[in-house]
Amino acid sequence: MLEVERLSVRYGAVQALHEVSLSIEEGAIVTLIGSNGAGKSTTLRAISGLLRPAGGTIRYCGERIDRLPAHAIVGRGLSQVPEGRMVFANLSVRENLQMGAYLQRDRALVQRELERVFSLFPRLQEREQQVAGTLSGGEQQMLAIGRALMSRPKFLMMDEPSLGIAPLLVATIFEKIVEINRSHGITVLLVEQNANLALDISSHGYVLETGRVILHDRSAALRADERVRSAYLGA
């Protein structure tokens, strides 16, 4: 479904990604793990069209998307829950979700999607009229995921959804990710520092180190890998 080939990205003089290649099959949950500054967010930003690659290609369903502007990529069915959530703090919960469906002109479809998000996160429905900036961190994460779902993506990227959230809620969020994948049929690319959980729910994983893919395998195999165990699983 998504083929990233030899992707290089630079920030000015700094090269953040060196020929990163990823291949993600439809229906899968794939995780991208790596320590701080490895280039995980940069990879997602490039796929979403927020950064122009310095080299390499990104193909989605066989078509190149690496020259498209970010808003057009959303229109193709790729959506992202960005690092740090980035909810519109000055808008209400409902308005945030409506903005998620910005490209959808059919109101009935928007309403249906809204109900689906509310059944996934009933908490959001309780807070529908509340200004998003006053939500707790966990609620904001639910809102960020809900907002990304509102565009009815076929491919969803999530950048550290567990960051800064109480452990109990992290478990809930991960259950929701599995649910989104299973019952909504959405392919997921999950970036996590919490490698344990991420490898639990994914079928395949990639390990990124200083802008390079150093390992990729089935998640079960990565769990058993000595390097992964010592560097990312605290074993």
């Binding site: 979403s48 069209g49 927020l50 502007p69 970010a70 808003h71 959303v74 229109g75 959506s79 992202q80 960005p82 740090g84 980035m86 909810v87 519109f88 703090a89 000055n90 808008l91 308005e95 409506q98 903005m99 998620g100 910005y102 490209l103 900036g133 907002r147 990304a148 509102m150 565009s151």
Partner: protein, 296 residues
């Protein structure tokens, strides 16, 4: 007392014009984080558009006057969009200082272009609306003032509706909070920015027509002072804050008029700058608070 009420009416009328211009500064600041100093020239262009449209459209009736107003708003909306496309868009992503200097350059360019095309001499602005005077107690209200109040009220309510209730207005607010998140939900930021310029410029054009209807002499440099004062009004209300800009305009118009009425007419133009210095000293976020940005 009557004299005070009279000045209050005059001050409100002036304040309404400042408010209409100030909204454009504040909305553009909201989406691009810089002060579009060419905005005062859009106000001037609005007055000139009205001047020339009044030759094509029979005026002197309310409908005719409103048609001229609508035409000038449309012309300036296009002008605003054009300015953004040609001058600011190519510099997107550069520093705010670059954008500011460009804005000052565009402002000077338009002033000089105006002098070149229209000549530097003042022209008297045609009477767009039927002229009547209404006496309420001792207070005199002109039909021009009544129309000014009515038009401003309708435009402010309309703007409020657009910004708070429509899809594009919500996108404007989303973009001003976080442009990256906006493009991640599929908002075409460039389009929303164009729309913002169109909206702000149309309001400035309305301000230009209403101003010229009350002070009926127009020239290519007429935008400078009202433009600067409206900028002060936007800062007074809290830059980036839309209701703040409207409030700041009204407050500034009232203060200026009252100072003049108290015998300080030599200080008319200094009032705004005194206000600016006072806010920057004591309330740098303005009356209603600055635009909220994301805490990182």
């Amino acid at each position: 007392m009557t004299e005070f009420l009279q000045q209050l009416v005059n001050g409100l009328a002036l304040g309404a014009v400042y408010a209409l211009i100030a909204l454009g500064y504040t909305m553009v600041y909201g989406v691009l984080r810089f002060i579009n100093f060419a905005h005062s020239e859009v106000f001037m262009a609005g007055a000139f558009a009205g001047y020339f449209l009044a030759r094509l459209i029979p005026t002197g009736s309310v409908v005719g006057g409103l048609l001229v107003l609508a035409g000038a708003m449309l012309i300036c909306a296009l002008l605003g969009v054009l300015i953004e496309k040609l001058a600011y868009r190519p510099l997107r992503g550069r520093s705010t200082l670059t954008a500011l200097i460009t804005a000052i350059g565009v402002s000077l360019l338009l002033q000089n272009l105006g002098q070149r095309i229209f000549g530097p001499n003042p022209r008297s602005f045609p009477v767009l609306f039927p002229l009547h005077y209404f006496h309420l107690g001792g207070v005199v209200l002109s039909s021009a003032q009544l129309i000014l109040f009515a038009v401003t009220a309708v435009l402010l309510l309309g703007l409020r509706h657009v910004v708070m209730k429509t899809r594009i207005g919500t996108a404007m607010r989303a973009l001003s909070f976080n442009p990256v998140a906006a493009s991640l939900v599929g908002i075409n930021n460039d389009r929303v920015i164009s729309f913002t310029f169109a909206l702000g410029s149309a309001l400035a054009a309305a301000g230009g027509i209403l101003y010229a209807s009350s002070y009926p002499s127009i020239d290519p440099l007429m935008g400078t002072l009202p433009g600067l004062k409206a900028f002060v009004a936007a800062v007074l209300g809290g830059i980036g804050n839309i209701p703040g800009a409207a409030l700041g305009g009204v407050v500034l118009g009232l203060v200026e008029t009252l100072v003049v009425a108290l015998g300080g007419s030599t200080y008319r133009d200094a009032v705004a700058f005194a206000v600016l210095i006072l806010i920057l000293l004591f309330r740098p976020n303005g009356l209603l608070g600055r635009l909220q940005t994301e805490k990182v």
